[in-house]
Symmetry: C2
Subunit: 430 residues, 2 copies
C-alpha cells in the first residue's frame, strides 16, 4: 500500500541542511518514505493520492517526557512547589486502578495526537494498561514503569520485578510502535541498589534508562547531604551513565556535571513549562549543554504540572525562557527549538524518524498552510514555534498510517474516550 | 431584540465574589445583560434562544497592549533585542501605506476574535485606516496614533496634529465601540514637549494616555543620563501621571517608582511574552504592583514581538514567569491571571464590561465545555489559564452581537481578509 502526497505546499524536511521544499511530492510505501521529488507519478491502484497544496508537511513531534495518565489530574493542586506537590499527588495516585491508567493514558494520546505528537516517552505506574491505550491510539510510546522504593530495603525487589515484568511483556508483544524503557523515578525516591539493579536490567535488555535529575535545589542539596556528591557525580560513581541514559529536567546542574554527562554520551530533556509552574527557580543550561554536544529533547511533563500536552507551546516557552534569562535574543533560534522536538527526539530514542528523508519512517504532521496563525508565511519555522495554534494541525501520520485526518482522530472514538475519561474521574473523586 | 442563553453549562461571572454558576440562563437586551437566573422564560418573538448546556460562558477578553498592523511583520527579525529590533522595524514601517495599516489591523482583529478578545488597546500609525478595520470587525478598539518626534523640535507639532486629528475624527464618528487614546511612544522617542502637549490634549478631551515605560535597562539608563531622573520620577515631574495614565511593560522599575504610580492612580500593563522574546531581562513586579493596589492589565504586544495575539497563552506565560522567578508557586493564581484580562482590563479602559452581571454590556466569550483542553472540568479557572486551546473558543459576542459563531467569524469574510492580507504583504516586500 502506497500513499502519495502531491504538491506539498511546503515540506520542512529537518534533514541535515534543514531544507524546506516547495511543491514537492512524497511517496510513502509500507510505512516508509520511498521518494521525495517533484511530479512523482504512480499507477493509482493501491495508492492513495492526496492533494497537499494547502499543507505544510513536517516530521511529527516527539514529546520526550510525560506521565500520560496525569491528564486525570489536570488542574489538581496547582500553585504548589514540586516536593509538597508530589506529596499531594502521591496520595491520589495510590488510589488509581488499572482503568484509570488506561483511560488517563488514552486521553493523553488523544491530546497528543491533536498536538501533532507521534511519539512520547512515558514514566508512570500501571504500564500494562497504558500499553493497551497507546496500542489502540496507534502512536509510538516508549513506556517505563516508574520505580520508587523510597530507600526501604524491602521494596527494592518488588520494584525491579515490576520493571522486568513490563519490559518482558512489552518486548514479547512485538508492537513495532511501542518499546519498554527502564524508568526509576529519581535519586531521592530510589535507593542506590534500586538504581543499580534497574540499570543492570536495562543493559541486559538493551533498553533506555530514564531518570528525573536535578529538578530542584532541594534535590541537589539532599543528594549532597546524603551521598556527599553532586547528583551527576553520584550517578557516575554508580556507573549508571552511558549513551542510553536520559536525564529529565537538569535545571540545577553545574558545568562539571554537564561535562560528565557529555563524556558519557548521556542525553537530556528540557521541560520548561513544568519547571516554571512548579517554581523550581532553576534554568536548563541550554547553551552549555549544546556546546558540550549533549543531545537535547523537549518534554511537556505531565498534564498536572503543565497543564497541557502541547509541544508547540513548549517550544515557544523554551525559547522565551532562554532568550530572556540570558539577556540574549539570539540565545536559541526557532530552528533549534524545532530540532528538539523532531530530529533530536528521534535520535535520543533511536528511532528512524524525526526528519523527512528517503528511507525514514513516515511519521508526519500536516498543517493548514492558510491557518491565520501561520500567516504571513515569510518565516515558516518562526511561525511554527512562535505563533502556530494547535488548531492549524490537520493530520497526523504514524509509520505511514493516518491517526488523524482533518482534525478527526481515526484511531479512537473521541466522544467515547471523553465519556470514559469523565466516568473514571467521577469514580476516582467519589 | 433579545438573546437568551439557556442552561449555560458554566458561567464564570468574574463578579466581586468570582461566582461560578451552573445551569443558569442569561438574558440579553439591547446589548446589555438584563437578567441572570435559572429558568428565564420569554415570549419567543424577537428573542433568539440558544441552548448553551455545552458551553462555558465568561466575559470576553481584553488585550491591553498591541500594535495591530504588525501581523504583517510576524516572523520578521526574530532574535533581536528591543533597540536593534526597533531600528529594523522602523525601516519597514516607513514603507507602510494606508492599505497596509488597514489590512494588517483587520487580520489582527480576525486573530483576536478567534482568541476570544472583544476589546483591545492599540498604538500605531495610520489610525484612520485601523479605525475602518476595527469598525468592520465589530469589536472594541481603543486606538491611539503612535507619536514620536525623536526629540527633533521641528517634528513635535506635526505629531500633535496627528493625534488631535485622529481623536477628533474618532469622537465625531461616534462608533460606540471605538474610542481614541493619546499614545506617545516612549520617553526615548518623544521630547518632553511632545509628552506635555500630548497630555494636554488628553486632558482637554478626557482621553486615556498610554506610553511604553521602562521596557529595557538601556531605556532607564538613558533617561537617567539625559534627565538625571528615573523614568517614573521624570514623568511625575512633567505632571503626566494621573488615573488616565497607562504604562506598558514596566519591567525595570523600582519600588519608589511603583509607589509614585500608585499614588497617582496610574495603571500598568504586563506583556510577558514580548518582554521575554526581546530578551529584556526585566520582570514585571506583579507582587509589588498588586500590593500597591495598582490596576494591572495584560497585553500581547504586537505580532512581531510575540508572535501571536493569543491572550490565553499570555495568561499562562504570565503565571509561569512570576511563579518561577519568585521561587513561589503560589505567587500568582490562575484566578488573578484571568482577572487581568477581564475585569481589570475593563476597569482600566473604563468600560462597562469585564464581568457577567446584570446591567453590564454583553461582551461574552463561549467555550466548548467538552473540548479536550478543558477536561477534566474540576478546576475551570486553572484549565482556562493553563490548558485551554484557542480551538475551544467557539463564539464571541460584543455588546450583544455575535461576531463569531462556532468559530466562524461573522463580521468579515475570512478568506477574503486572508487574500487581501497576503496581497498587501507581497506588495510590501516587492
Amino acid at each position: 500500500m502506497q500513499v502519495l502526497l502531491k504538491n506539498c505546499g511546503f515540506i520542512i524536511t529537518q534533514n541535515r541542511d534543514r531544507t524546506i521544499l516547495k511543491d514537492f511530492d512524497i511517496l510513502i510505501e509500507e510505512g516508509r518514505i520511498k521518494e521525495i521529488k517533484k511530479g512523482i507519478s504512480v499507477s493509482t491502484k493501491d495508492c492513495e493520492i492526496l492533494d497537499c497544496r494547502n499543507k505544510i508537511v513536517l516530521p511529527a513531534f516527539l514529546n520526550l517526557h510525560t506521565h500520560s495518565p496525569m491528564t486525570l489530574l489536570r488542574g489538581y493542586k496547582d500553585d504548589l512547589e514540586l516536593h509538597p506537590w508530589l506529596q499531594e499527588i502521591w496520595k491520589v495516585e495510590a488510589k488509581l486502578k488499572d482503568k484509570h491508567f488506561y483511560i488517563g493514558a488514552k486521553f493523553a494520546c488523544l491530546e497528543m495526537i491533536k498536538s501533532g505528537i507521534s511519539c512520547f516517552l512515558d514514566m508512570y505506574f500501571g504500564m500494562g494498561s497504558i500499553f493497551k491505550a497507546v496500542a489502540e491510539a496507534g502512536i509510538r510510546g516508549f513506556l517505563g514503569e516508574a520505580l520508587m522504593d523510597f530507600k526501604e530495603e524491602g521494596r527494592t525487589e518488588e520494584e525491579i520485578k515490576k520493571a522486568e515484568k513490563f519490559a518482558d511483556f512489552c518486548i514479547k508483544a512485538g508492537n513495532p510502535l511501542i518499546k519498554p524503557v527502564i524508568a526509576p523515578h529519581s535519586i531521592y525516591t530510589c535507593s542506590p541498589s534500586l538504581l543499580l539493579r534497574a540499570k543492570e536490567i536495562a543493559r541486559e535488555k538493551g533498553l533506555l534508562f530514564t531518570l528525573h535529575l536535578s529538578e530542584t535545589r532541594k534535590e541537589v542539596f539532599d543528594c549532597y547531604k546524603e551521598y556527599k556528591k553532586k547528583p551527576v557525580n553520584y550517578l557516575k560513581d554508580l556507573n549508571l551513565l552511558d549513551e542510553k541514559f536520559i536525564a529529565f529536567h537538569c535545571v540545577w546542574i553545574t558545568r562539571e556535571e554537564i561535562s560528565i554527562l557529555a563524556k558519557s554520551d548521556a542525553k537530556a530533556v528540557h521541560c520548561p513549562i513544568s519547571n516554571m509552574k512548579l517554581a523550581t527557580g532553576g534554568v536548563f543550561p541550554f547553551r552549555e549543554m549544546k556546546e558540550s554536544n549533549i543531545l537535547i529533547g523537549l518534554g511537556t511533563d505531565g498534564a498536572c504540572s503543565n497543564n497541557s500536552l502541547n509541544i508547540l507551546e513548549e517550544m515557544k516557552v523554551a525559547c522565551l525562557l532562554q532568550k530572556w534569562f540570558r539577556w540574549n535574543a539570539s540565545e536559541i533560534s526557532a530552528q533549534e527549538a524545532l530540532d528538539l522536538v523532531t530530529i533530536n527526539g528521534a535520535k535520543i530514542l533511536g528511532i528512524n524518524s524525526g526528519s523527512i528523508e528517503e528511507g525514514k519512517d513516515a511519521d508526519l504532521v500536516f498543517l493548514n498552510k492558510e491557518h491565520f496563525s501561520l500567516l504571513p508565511s515569510q518565516n515558516l519555522i518562526s511561525n511554527l514555534v512562535f505563533s502556530c495554534s494547535r488548531e492549524a494541525i490537520s493530520d497526523l501520520m504514524v509509520r505511514g498510517r493516518f491517526v488523524m485526518r482533518d482534525r478527526k482522530v481515526l484511531s479512537m472514538d473521541e466522544e467515547k474516550t471523553k465519556e470514559e475519561f469523565k466516568k473514571a474521574l467521577e469514580e476516582l473523586i467519589a
